[in-house]
Symmetry: D2
Subunit: 260 residues, 4 copies
Amino acid sequence: NAPLSLIAGPCQFESRQHAFDMAGKLKELTQKLGIGFVYKSSFDKANRSSLSSTRGAGLDAALPVFADLRKELGVSVLTDVHTEEQCAIVGEVVDVLQIPAFLSRQTDLLIAAAKTGKVVNVKKGQFLAPWDMKNVVAKVTGSGNANVLVTERGASFGYNTLVSDMRALPIMADIGAPVIFDATHSVQQPGGQGATSGGERRFVETLARAAVAVGVAGVFIETHEDPDNSTSSDGPNMVPFKDMPALLERLMAFDRVAKG
Amino acid sequence: NAPLSLIAGPCQFESRQHAFDMAGKLKELTQKLGIGFVYKSSFDKANRSSLSSTRGAGLDAALPVFADLRKELGVSVLTDVHTEEQCAIVGEVVDVLQIPAFLSRQTDLLIAAAKTGKVVNVKKGQFLAPWDMKNVVAKVTGSGNANVLVTERGASFGYNTLVSDMRALPIMADIGAPVIFDATHSVQQPGGQGATSGGERRFVETLARAAVAVGVAGVFIETHEDPDNSTSSDGPNMVPFKDMPALLERLMAFDRVAKG
Amino acid sequence: NAPLSLIAGPCQFESRQHAFDMAGKLKELTQKLGIGFVYKSSFDKANRSSLSSTRGAGLDAALPVFADLRKELGVSVLTDVHTEEQCAIVGEVVDVLQIPAFLSRQTDLLIAAAKTGKVVNVKKGQFLAPWDMKNVVAKVTGSGNANVLVTERGASFGYNTLVSDMRALPIMADIGAPVIFDATHSVQQPGGQGATSGGERRFVETLARAAVAVGVAGVFIETHEDPDNSTSSDGPNMVPFKDMPALLERLMAFDRVAKG
Amino acid sequence: NAPLSLIAGPCQFESRQHAFDMAGKLKELTQKLGIGFVYKSSFDKANRSSLSSTRGAGLDAALPVFADLRKELGVSVLTDVHTEEQCAIVGEVVDVLQIPAFLSRQTDLLIAAAKTGKVVNVKKGQFLAPWDMKNVVAKVTGSGNANVLVTERGASFGYNTLVSDMRALPIMADIGAPVIFDATHSVQQPGGQGATSGGERRFVETLARAAVAVGVAGVFIETHEDPDNSTSSDGPNMVPFKDMPALLERLMAFDRVAKG
């Protein structure tokens, strides 16, 4: 029943300067509010809707920056991995390896991530029931790594729509892994804008409040100082950084009631 | 931004004695906690899964008791109506006429309920999107009655399952009608147990906490001193009365944060 | 394993002249193709999306025409009923009473329809699983009427969308009632166009072919000589009459293979 | 409008002897019926529900057999690939590389498969709308390979259930790629039996008939001489080989009507 933690950062790695800016601001904010913090950044977007979407800076450009963020700012870093090969390389640098939702059933990837010994955060596939995550978690723990997080990020609900079933949170908590609520991707409208994925930023707070009141170990929120002009696919879902302080204060107030 | 109200009572009318017991206990509890209270009771269950399910005591037995509850205990009373004819009769006695979810698109029923001048609480059909309630509300207000409540009670999600989309709460609030969250029927597993509907009581609090944190005018919770031995179809969903005080205190704490 | 029957007609009753025109044309066409035929017409649309949608001519105007259609053209007539009171009145005149999908769980309506002794066609609610229709059928047969049809017309699939699960057809056939596939309402996009319901006419044939190949007793297709200028809510779903001959010939060819 | 083709074989590679037996029998059967045939076999099941599920013989054991099947029996061979590295290796041997549904959005895998120049069959993700496949197909064609097939295999419908939307077939055909209907995985109940995926074999024919009547380039059906004693996760969905001749004859009859 530890207080709420925050996994946050921009959707994707943009530059060393941008990463240090964002991580620094988020570190300062979360320290002030007494929230545990993990900096999130993606070096590649391997499952973008279309070929013409931007892909990210790549492993070679991002990893040294991730290493420096940890060393210089003392923040924990999370990034997502897409292949077995990436796991060992990325595992040398970051604190948390994240398995994308589409890949949550890929056994070899889960095992490779587990073998790094780092924390593994598995996002629940949009096609999975919450109880299906028991087998997913067992793939990691059965490979000798007990440090697994599971993340709710919405279930398929008709076409181009996700729905967040708040019952999934206690069901997944019963598996024994800390549960994270991804408020950014839960408001995604996958495929809903032609060649990129749309979203509805206004519901990020709606769903985050609900999840925190139900009780979660952490929330995952992508943020950017100027989401609508970022290069990211998640622009429509990211919270402007200026709105983060008030949002986090409200979430902490709900968390205190939930865990009080 | 008034504090949370509670619509509560047993699934169905059992007897004068039982109604006075339940309404009395709930009145005492809600007064102590400072929660607005409406007593809910059904005189008939017109849409039960099968012919052999019990139907309720009927209008003639229940209405005089509803009248006496109002007069003697000073509580507001809500009951559901299924035909135009019932509206005028029931409207003479109760404070709130509730339109069942399956009937939320029946124009004549909505108009007849509106014409009573009493508050009309329309449950959102399991087959409706939250924005579809705009037309439903307009059927009532367009008939000259501005006192409409809308109630979220889950959307169809595959077979024999409902899901509560918390985004529905702010979407319906934008329509302009106060929004109620029905935590009892939202955990129903319709048709899931052969000839009656099942449910999962453990999620009543899960979903109620989520909804209150998002922000609602009220919650609807069916309760009974002994749900598993009640005659009701909603036994598996009703909260034992002994658990209500602690549940309501937690919900009020979330409500204060949500509206603070 | 009788050959395919057709339930067809315009969405709603327009006038005596229009009814005789449509019923006459459809009778001639189905006789030529050797298809059993029931003329469908609604005297009222009681569950329209909004108050401002047209409602239909009403019982008093339509019933005499239905009686004359039967007498003068020798066609069977189906219409939908919305209240217990209508059942007895309508049952005097028509051959088949149809229970709308939203009302498929209303016990009193099902019993009243059953008591007429006429054939009762129950549309499966968008919120029901196919196996849930067993209890619905039992409400009619348990009231002494063995002449029940069940109609598939789509299940809720996210918001404003229906999906036709072809597995529902054999599952409902196992209940023992002849199964009809409603190709018109299965392509409806409920609520999807603001204050009326939209649809996609191009998929009427897609879904009808699928259902006939799986094996059904009949198909339900709304048709109109000029759907886009009809007064009906189902304009976007109705098949232009000129396209019916070729469509029915193809469906009969599939039916012969399915039942051969 | 070429006649129906068949992609068939056991769920997974068992042994050289078994592969030659199955491919030989299927070749003989499809030649007799005049159906184009592609032999399907998986060398690995990379996304099984749990760690304890069997994984398959592996690339090294299966590839030489696939090569010999092509050379000695003259059959085309399809297998699924899970990583970029596998594409080049597998592409040396087989005729068709299949992208699993969970991986249908993984850009690098699609490009690597495209670069082999072989036919690429992309299964539509359970989390995708049919129109979302336009971008998926463009990832392959944009990489210089015009030989793309798309396969319908069900969409997420609540938890542990898939539904086959027959409208998806013409929608995907409009993209320009031949459409295959996978009747085996469409009846899967993902995660529905604890640590393996369940299914309902009885609906394989139901859905295959529907799809062929709507109109498809081919059907995908897993078959085994003794499905209930196979090592495969798809045992509950596979059609016993003895039932294939009659099933295929019926499907061909529907195909002739559909394309006549």
